[in-house]
């Protein structure tokens, strides 16, 4: 039997009423080990204006590099209560913020470990289907050999790597730029 996946439609301007019950802006509660990071940024449209009605969803492994999912069969520890899921709306100026732990490295298809990263889905009014991208981490030697980053032309890889906030330990900045010379790399999954 072969069916076709249902057509995607936009979340529209009013998704808050249906989706805010599951907002999670802290992916690492008490008892979750690892390097704490806070990631903040903005979603920007073609005019560089903040998008006030967007939503990001996050999916990541824990600091040991294990996903809270039955298909991750690695023998690695995972904390009780760690889910790895986040869902955050943008504010009126297009800004968003969440806190988590830096994920560990998970296996890649080339037999090597992937560099630490967070999978991101972006939804908003005006987007007929989600955008998919990834957040990578600065000062991470593994980025140089990462499977997904290697698929991206070198000049655009920086759009996927969060930047350190000068003088603010544990604070990273990462933006979603929808169009223009700094356009974020999005993945076809």
């Amino acid at each position: 039997m072969s069916l076709q996946a249902t057509t995607s439609q936009t979340v529209g301007p009013y998704f808050l009423i249906g989706l805010q019950w599951l907002f999670v802006d802290n992916l690492a509660g008490q008892g979750v080990t690892g390097e704490r990071v806070e990631i903040a940024g903005r979603v920007l449209d073609a005019d560089g204006q903040g998008v006030p009605d967007a939503m990001l969803e996050l999916w990541q492994a824990n600091s040991a590099g294990k996903y809270a999912h039955p298909e991750d069969t690695q023998e690695k520890p995972i904390e009780k209560g760690f889910q790895g899921f986040g869902r955050i709306p943008t504010a009126d100026d297009g800004s968003f913020r969440f806190s988590t732990v830096k994920p560990g490295r998970v296996p890649g298809p080339d037999g090597k470990l992937q560099a630490p990263h967070i999978d991101v889905s972006v939804f908003m009014r005006g987007l007929l289907r989600r955008l998919v991208t990834r957040i990578y981490f600065p000062d991470e030697p593994a980025n140089a050999e990462d499977y997904a980053l290697s698929l991206v032309e070198p000049s655009r890889r920086a759009t996927l790597i969060a930047r350190k906030s000068p003088g603010r330990e544990g604070m990273l900045e990462w933006n979603v730029v929808l169009q223009g010379p700094e356009e974020t790399v999005f993945f076809d999954v």
């Binding site: 249902t6 057509t7 439609q9 009013y14 009423i17 999916w59 987007l127 289907r129 999954v189």
Partner: protein, 234 residues
């Protein structure tokens, strides 16, 4: 992990492009560059797991979330969540949101001059059962105007959000009602090139789930991306 099986990509034409100029909001928000094809890794074949502990029992009945009854026509919206291989997707989270019977959302941005209903929030969620079935009780949402173009009206619709088993299977869509005269004029409905794929967004009136003297039934089955090849079964 080396024998990892990814999820299928969509059939050509059955999913919208990001840019669809008749839907004006897409013009400044659709990326201008093509997405980079990413073979699925462990990060994409895993995804958030939600269990019944987060689900509120009342959340699947949108007509009993307040003290009084909401205004409008009571309906039952039910169906199955399947994958492209025809297998049910069990225990997966389904979230919905919608306008009230007058065509107004309980959202601060909605300024449509139609009344709010104190007895209707317009949001619900549930988990599919072991066979992929879900069921909501709600009221039929009203049509409402929007500012996409002159005299633009959205057909009646209910927003659906589903996760499925993996990051790769995430889907947000909208369900429409059979016979709605606004459907052929809706640039959001029309964003998908393939006519059959579009029309699958229209629910079917269903006698089987209609409750006599209570509520009309509408059937809406949802298909999520399926596994590329059949994985080994234990």
């Amino acid at each position: 992990m080396s024998n990892l099986v990814g999820y299928r990509r969509s059939y050509p034409g059955t999913q919208p492009n990001h840019l669809h100029p008749p839907y004006v909001s897409s013009i400044k928000r659709a990326p201008s560059r093509s997405p980079v094809y990413l073979p699925h890794t462990l990060s994409e074949v895993t995804g958030p797991v939600f269990d019944s502990s987060i689900v509120e029992a009342k959340a699947c009945d949108l007509t009993h979330q307040h003290h009084g009854d909401p205004l409008g026509e009571r309906i039952i919206v039910s169906g199955r969540v399947l994958d492209e291989n025809g297998r049910p997707v069990p225990h997966t989270l389904v979230e919905i949101w919608q306008a009230n019977a007058a065509g107004r959302y309980r959202h601060k941005v909605d300024q449509h001059d139609a009344p709010l209903d104190p007895n209707f929030t317009g949001t619900g969620h549930t988990l599919t059962d072991a066979n992929g079935h879900y069921r909501f009780v709600t009221i039929r949402p009203g049509e409402y105007p929007w500012r996409n173009h002159y005299n633009a009206w959205r057909p009646a619709h209910i927003h659906f959000s589903l996760f499925g088993p993996a990051f790769a299977t995430r889907l947000v869509t909208q369900m429409f009602f059979p016979g709605d005269p606004l459907i052929p004029f809706d640039p959001i409905f029309n964003c998908t090139a393939d006519e059959k794929a579009r029309n699958r967004l229209i629910s079917l009136f269903d006698w089987e789930t209609t409750i006599p003297e209570q509520a009309l039934g509408y059937k809406f089955d949802i298909v999520l991306a399926g596994r590329d090849a059949t994985p080994w079964e234990k």
